[in-house]
C-alpha cells in the first residue's frame, strides 16, 4: 500500500465514523423498532403479512402525531430486515437491527426456525424481542428478554388431537412433517405423543418427513396410504400444503387431512388450487365473523392491501401494540440499554392485554396463555370459524 492509498483509506474510515456519530445523534423523538421478517425465501407471504400489519399501526400512530410517552410525542420508525426465512440470515438481521440501527425492541422473526436463533441474539444483547408467530417452546425458554404473541405447540398439539378425535371419529393417523423446520418437527413429535397417549402406542401408523427443498412426496405418501391411516396430520407451511395435498389425492388418498397454524395464509388456496377445500386446521384467529377491534383491523387491512389478513398479520399487530404499550409504561430516558431493559420489564408485567387475537397475560417464560381456534376452508377459500379450543 503506497502513501496515497493509505491516506484514502484513513479518510474513508474517518468519514464513516463521523457519519455514524451524526446518524446516532439525530435519533431524537423517534422510536425505532426493528422487524426481523421473511420478505423473500420459501414463505414470503408470512413476512408480507407482518410488514403490512406494521405499516397500518405506523400510519395510524404517526398520523396522530406520534406515540405519546410521558406527555411527549415520538414518531415511529420501523426498520424491516429480510431474514429470507433462513436461520443464519435471521441472526445477521438481528445483529444489524441491534447494533447498527440501534432499535429499542424487535418484532419477529415469525417462524420458529428463525426465532430460536434470533431470540438467542436478542437475549445476549439485552434487547426485548417479541415473536408474533413462533409456537416452538425453545424460542422463549430461559430467555427473559424474549416474548411471543401466540400460543405454544405443547398446547396446540394436544388440543388438535382432542378436536380430531371428536370431529373425525378416527383412531389411526399418519404424520408428514418438514425435518428441516424446528416448528414442523417439534409439532409433529408433540402431536404423535399426544395421539398415542389417547389411542395407544402404534396408533400413529406412519411418521414421515421431508426436506425444505423437496418437491416430490410420492414415496412418503405411498407409504402413508399403504399404512391404512384414517387421517393425515400435516404440520407444514402453506407452500408445502399446495404440493402435498394434490399429490396425495392423485395417489389415491381419500381420508381427512388436518393442518396446523402454518396453513393460515392467503396463498394457501391459490397454491393448492382449491385442493384443501373442506379441510380443517388449528390457528390463532378466525377472520370470518370477527367483531370489535379485530374487525376494525381486518377491514383496514383489506382496504389497504386487498385481501384478508393472515393470522401472522393479526399477531404482528398485537405484538407491536404490546411493545408500544410497554414503551408507554416504561418511558424513554435516552439511555438505550436502560430503556431496552425497562421495556422488557414492562412487557413481562403486562396483564390481561386485550389483543385482537385474544387476551394476553405473560407467563414467567414470556408466553401468553391464549385460546386456539379451529377453522375450516370453505368453497370460496375462506377460513370459517368452527370451534374455540381452550387450555
Amino acid at each position: 500500500m503506497n502513501g496515497r492509498k493509505r491516506l484514502l483509506v484513513v479518510v474513508a474510515v474517518l468519514s464513516l465514523v463521523v457519519s455514524g456519530l451524526f446518524a446516532g445523534g439525530s435519533a431524537e423523538n423517534t422510536i425505532k423498532i426493528g422487524f426481523n421478517i421473511p420478505l423473500t425465501g420459501d414463505s414470503p407471504k408470512v413476512g408480507e403479512g407482518s410488514k403490512y400489519a406494521a405499516e397500518l399501526v405506523k400510519e395510524r400512530i404517526n398520523g396522530e402525531g406520534g406515540l405519546l410517552v410521558d406527555g411527549e410525542r415520538y414518531m415511529l420508525e420501523f426498520i424491516y430486515e429480510d431474514n429470507a426465512f433462513k436461520p443464519d440470515t435471521a441472526v445477521t438481521a438481528a445483529y444489524k437491527l441491534i447494533e447498527q440501527d440501534e432499535v429499542l425492541a424487535i418484532v419477529g422473526p415469525d417462524g420458529s426456525s428463525q426465532a430460536i436463533p434470533a431470540g438467542g441474539v436478542a437475549e445476549e444483547s439485552g434487547v426485548p424481542l417479541i415473536s408474533p408467530w413462533s409456537t416452538n417452546p425453545n424460542t422463549t425458554l430461559d430467555r427473559p428478554y424474549v416474548f411471543r404473541a401466540c400460543f405454544l405447540d405443547p398446547f396446540q398439539a394436544p388440543v388438535a388431537v382432542k378436536f380430531a378425535e371428536e370431529q373425525f371419529d378416527v383412531e389411526t393417523c399418519a404424520v408428514l412433517y418438514n425435518l428441516e423446520s424446528d416448528y414442523s418437527k417439534t409439532l409433529a413429535e408433540l402431536f404423535k405423543g399426544a395421539w398415542e397417549e389417547t389411542n395407544g402406542a402404534g396408533s400413529v401408523v406412519a411418521f414421515e418427513s421431508f426436506g425444505q427443498k423437496d418437491q416430490d412426496f410420492s414415496v412418503q405418501l405411498t407409504k402413508i396410504i399403504a399404512s391404512g391411516a384414517e387421517m393425515l396430520y400435516l404440520p407444514v407451511y402453506y407452500n408445502f400444503v399446495g404440493l402435498i395435498v394434490p399429490q396425495a389425492q392423485e395417489l389415491g388418498w381419500d381420508g381427512v387431512v388436518f393442518g396446523a397454524d402454518a396453513w393460515g395464509s392467503a396463498d394457501l388456496w391459490k397454491l393448492s388450487d382449491g385442493a384443501v377445500e373442506g379441510y380443517y386446521f388449528t390457528t390463532h384467529y378466525a377472520a370470518a365473523g370477527a367483531t370489535g377491534e379485530t374487525k376494525e383491523f381486518i377491514d383496514a387491512y383489506e382496504a389497504a392491501y386487498g385481501y384478508t389478513p393472515d393470522d401472522v398479520g393479526a399477531l404482528t399487530y398485537d405484538a407491536i401494540n404490546i411493545v408500544l404499550t410497554a414503551i408507554q409504561d416504561a418511558g424513554i430516558t435516552g439511555d438505550l440499554a436502560a430503556d431496552r431493559t425497562a421495556i422488557k420489564d414492562s412487557i413481562a408485567a403486562i396483564s390481561n392485554y386485550p389483543g385482537i387475537t385474544g387476551n394476553m397475560t405473560f407467563t414467567l417464560d414470556g408466553d401468553p396463555i391464549k385460546d386456539a381456534v379451529v377453522v375450516q376452508v370453505n368453497s370460496a377459500g375462506e377460513f370459517e370459524f368452527v370451534k374455540t379450543l381452550s387450555p
Binding site: E48, V219, G252, D267
Partner: protein
C-alpha cells in the same frame, strides 16, 4: 407388492426429471467441455416462461382442446428458453472463450449466471410463489392397484422421446457429427471449415429446449413455482450426469433414473430423513469404484 409397483412408478417419474436435466448438462459438456452450472436456473426460467405463456393462452379462453394449448405452450416455451440459452452463451461464455480464458473461469461464470437468473427473477417478480396453471386436465388412472395420472405417464414418455431424439441427433446427423468433432479437437475443427460458433449456438438451443420441456412438465407436476426451484434439482442432476459418465448421452439418461430410483427407494426402506445422506453415499461409492461414471471414457483433463 402394490407399494413396490407404485414406488417403481414414482421412481420412473422422478428420475425422468433428473434425466431430462442431466441430458442438458451433458450436451453442453460434451461439446464445450463446459459444466453449465446455470442449467438448473435455465430450467427454472423455463417453468416461469411456461407459466406466463400458459396463463396467457388460457386467459384468452379460446375453444382449444387441452392438447393444442399444451403444444402451443410447449413450443413457445422452448423458443423463449432457447433464446435465453443462446443469449447467455453470447454475453457470458463466448467473450471468455474468444479471449482464450481457461475453462475454469467459464464454469465460474456459469455459476454466476445462475445466481443472476435466480435473483433477477426475485427482483422482477417478487418472492411470492406462483401457482402453475392447469394446462392439461389431470386424470387419475388406477391400474393393478397403483395410481397413475396421465401427466405422470406423459413425463416418463417425454423423457424417453427426448433421449431418443438426442441420441439420434448427435450420432446420426451432420450437425451432431460436428458437435462430437468439436469436443474431440476444438483447435483442428475450424481448419476443417466447420463453423464452431454456429455449432455451439445449436448446442445451446438444444440444451435449453430440453430444459424447457423439463421445466414445463415440472411446473405441471409440482405446480408451486419459486425462483430457487432449479438450484438443488440442477445440482443433483449434474451429479447424476457425472455418475452416468458426463459427456455421454446414455450415461446422463441412465444416471438421472439411477438417482431418481435411489432417492425413492432409500425413502421406502429407511426413514425419509436419511434420503440425501444415503443416496449420495451410494453415488460416492459408485464414483470411487468407477471414477469416470458408468459410460464415461477416461480423459486427462476434466474439471
Amino acid at each position: 407388492m402394490q407399494t413396490l409397483l407404485q414406488n417403481i412408478f414414482n421412481g420412473l417419474q422422478w428420475g425422468s426429471f433428473y434425466s431430462m436435466i442431466a441430458l442438458g448438462y451433458c450436451l453442453v459438456y460434451g461439446v464445450l467441455r463446459l459444466i453449465n452450472f446455470a442449467h438448473g436456473d435455465i430450467f427454472m426460467m423455463a417453468s416461469y416462461f411456461a407459466f406466463f405463456i400458459g396463463t396467457a393462452i388460457l386467459g384468452l379462453a379460446l375453444p382449444l382442446p387441452d392438447a393444442v394449448v399444451f403444444g402451443l405452450t410447449l413450443v413457445a416455451t422452448m423458443a423463449l428458453t432457447a433464446g435465453l440459452g443462446v443469449f447467455i452463451e453470447r454475453v457470458a461464455y463466448r467473450p471468455l472463450r474468444t479471449k482464450g480464458a481457461h475453462r475454469l473461469y467459464v464454469v465460474i461464470t456459469a455459476l454466476m449466471v445462475g445466481f443472476i437468473l435466480e435473483n433477477g427473477n426475485l427482483a422482477v417478480l417478487g418472492a411470492s410463489a406462483l401457482r402453475f396453471p392447469e394446462i392439461i386436465d389431470k386424470h387419475i388412472i388406477e391400474f393393478a392397484g397403483i395410481h397413475l395420472t396421465n401427466l405422470r405417464i406423459l413425463v416418463i414418455v417425454a423423457s424417453l422421446i427426448v433421449f431418443a431424439f438426442l441420441q439420434f441427433f448427435v450420432t446420426k446427423t451432420k450437425i451432431g457429427m460436428a458437435m462430437r468433432a468439436i469436443s474431440y479437437d476444438k483447435f483442428a475443427i475450424p481448419l476443417m471449415g466447420i463453423p464452431v460458433n454456429r455449432i455451439i449456438v445449436v448446442t445451446f438451443v438444444l440444451g435449453s429446449s430440453l430444459a424447457a420441456v423439463a421445466g414445463m412438465l415440472f411446473g405441471l407436476s409440482y405446480p408451486v413455482l419459486n425462483p430457487y426451484m432449479g438450484m438443488i434439482i440442477g445440482w443433483k442432476a449434474f451429479i447424476a450426469a457425472v455418475v452416468g459418465g458426463i459427456g455421454e448421452i446414455k450415461g446422463a439418461f441412465i444416471g438421472g433414473f439411477l438417482l431418481g430410483f435411489i432417492e425413492i427407494f432409500v425413502i421406502t426402506f429407511f426413514p425419509s430423513s436419511y434420503k440425501d445422506l444415503i443416496s449420495f453415499v451410494i453415488l460416492l461409492v459408485i464414483l470411487t469404484l468407477k471414477p469416470t461414471g458408468f459410460f464415461g471414457i477416461a480423459k486427462s483433463t476434466k474439471i
